[in-house]
Amino acid sequence: MSYQANEKGYYGDFGGAFIPEMLYPNVEELRSQYLDIMKEESFQKEFKALLRDYVGRPTPLYYAERFSKKYGTKIYLKREDLCHTGAHKVNNTVGQILMAKRLGKDRIIAETGAGQHGVATATVCALMGIECIVYMGEIDIERQAPNVARMKMLGATVVPAKSGSRTLKDATNEAIRDWINNPLDTHYIIGSVVGPHPYPDMVARFQAIISEEIKIQLKEKENRENPDYVVACVGGGSNAAGAYFHYLDNPDVGIIAVEAAGKGIQSGESAATSALGKEGIIHGSKTLLMQTDDGQITEPYSISAGLDYPGVGPMHANLFRSGRGEFISITDKAAMDAGLELAKLEGIIPAIETSHALAIFEDRKFKKDDIVVINLSGRGDKDLSTYIDYFGL
């Protein structure tokens, strides 16, 4: 049994493409070509060159000595925070902008929550000289002013999503509506391993560079390709998908997914989809999602804007249901403390999303010689005001 997507885009029970007929031609055009395009030598060459020269890959795999000592195990950090624009998101946008060019599209749309994916999309659009429209919830625009300014500086148009709860899920709805209204010239760069097939698989493949590098780097440092565990935070789950990708079907490697418990799983203010979600359809994908008994999608909460998505990518829903992945949820408080701790012990200020993954060691114990790789998905610059407010810095 494989934990990768099958040819219909299903991971076990999850995935597929539950889309209105208006979207069918757009999605079908992409589905029928994405694998062939990605296999082209010229595509791979251009993609790898941009990842190296523009994004700054390979990102280091860093042995966090003081952090390891504190928790009595061997902890490596995969430094995606050192990517251009400050997070792993750009791996996917570089891949998708090249895909869009090969599909002959000259207009790009994207959704964004905290603004990281919006910035990464605006960045590659500037690089390629392609028009860029980013949908962002009206409430998120107020909360994330620096990223809005970055996108504007990069030449993107930021359109406020004013429907529903005016956050990430509504921005995604608005982007999908734009795509329905502009079926011919537009490519939609989805920022996570969510949405209809082929998006979860395509985004996972673009992010797979993370685990491809971990294998090579771990071999150099520890003379083995496989860690005992690979740990990542999961909102939609794109950094996790990339960190797990080449280990999914290797039972020697434990997979740990860390979700945002918010103020506690039972508090009513949480984003822990595996604990609180039920099977359903969101944004064209069958997956686990937070919803009412009546099937209305509910608004999640986390202190981290990148983790408050009411669903989870279908790959992760399958990892959860099959038992292949170990799912842990971390509260706002535990995450914030872990972020501060990493700053003090290693001189690295992580994004609050990533801080959730760093926080598991208080309760989840590992053996002394276990090798644990944490995907350090993003840097904390964007979260400074939250850290300042929280700790009274």
Binding site: M22, Y24, P25, G164, I176, N181, K278, G280, I281, G295
Partner: protein, 255 residues
């Protein structure tokens, strides 16, 4: 013969209205249906409200949000509709997104529709292929017709497939757009109506999206059996509540 197919055989252009159940007031559902029938509407689409209606524009989304806020649920809709067949004769179709139906249980939902006297369903985000493989038998056992959408971008091969799976009519989306977003049809759109008409499909076509008045209704039905009005009617309800429905119908189909 079922109500939808019987209606499609009538010798005139059909006018259908969409409205969101539980809007403008939670308990308006039944009286709006009755008033629409009284004013000569040929069949009705009852919208099952959803939090995230991807294929709809702001007018219909706002009506859904408001209906949900005031307590509309799937169970409540079926409660409201129980006994509807004692007063209403025209075909009734529920239009809703797949997730609420999935949570209710597809089989239970179809069964409940059958018992209530609902004739068909339109589920925009249930693709025809998935329906055909996984759910078709459930619909057929309960006598529920599933109506599919086509758009100007739908390939001829796919239209033929949709036609072969359909029983009733084909919902022809007028332009590549969400609901409520166009004003008037372009010559290209009218050519598309004609092109589909010339395919001689086994199911008649009914046009939806972008119809708001007598002129657009007449254009839409030049080559098709009928047309569906949604957002324009919701806007009327916004301004007038459930009163003066006859005035609205007269703007489409003058007496």
């Amino acid at each position: 013969m079922n109500r939808i197919n019987k209606k499609l055989q009538e010798d005139h252009k059909l006018l259908s209205i969409y409205f969101t159940a539980g809007y403008p007031e939670t308990d308006d559902t039944v009286s709006i249906i009755q008033e629409l029938e009284r004013n000569g509407i040929d069949f009705i689409e009852i919208g099952l409200p959803f939090s995230d209606p991807l294929a709809d524009g702001p007018t219909i989304q706002e009506s859904s949000t408001k209906a949900l806020k005031s307590g509309m649920t799937t169970n409540k809709l079926f409660e409201q509709l129980s006994g509807i067949r004692q007063s209403v004769k025209i075909p009734l179709i529920i239009m809703g997104y797949f997730n609420p139906i999935l949570q209710y249980g597809v089989e239970k939902f179809c069964k409940k529709c059958g018992e209530t006297g609902i004739d068909g369903l339109i589920i925009p985000d249930l693709p025809v292929d998935v329906y055909n493989e996984e759910y078709r038998s459930i619909f057929e056992e309960n006598g529920i017709q599933n109506i599919f959408l086509i758009t100007p971008q739908t390939s001829e091969e796919r239209i033929r497939f949709i036609d072969s799976v359909s029983d009733g009519f084909i919902y022809m989306v007028s332009t590549a757009s969400v609901t409520g977003s166009t004003s008037g049809f372009s010559p290209e759109t009218r050519k598309y109506f004609q092109r589909i008409s010339e395919m001689k499909l086994q199911n008649p076509q009914v046009v939806g999206f972008g119809i708001s008045d007598e002129e657009t209704f007449n254009q839409a039905t030049e080559f098709s059996k009928g047309a569906i009005i949604g957002s324009a009617f919701i806007k009327h309800l916004n301004h007038n509540g459930k009163n003066k429905i006859s005035d609205f119908v007269k703007t489409i189909r003058p007496v």
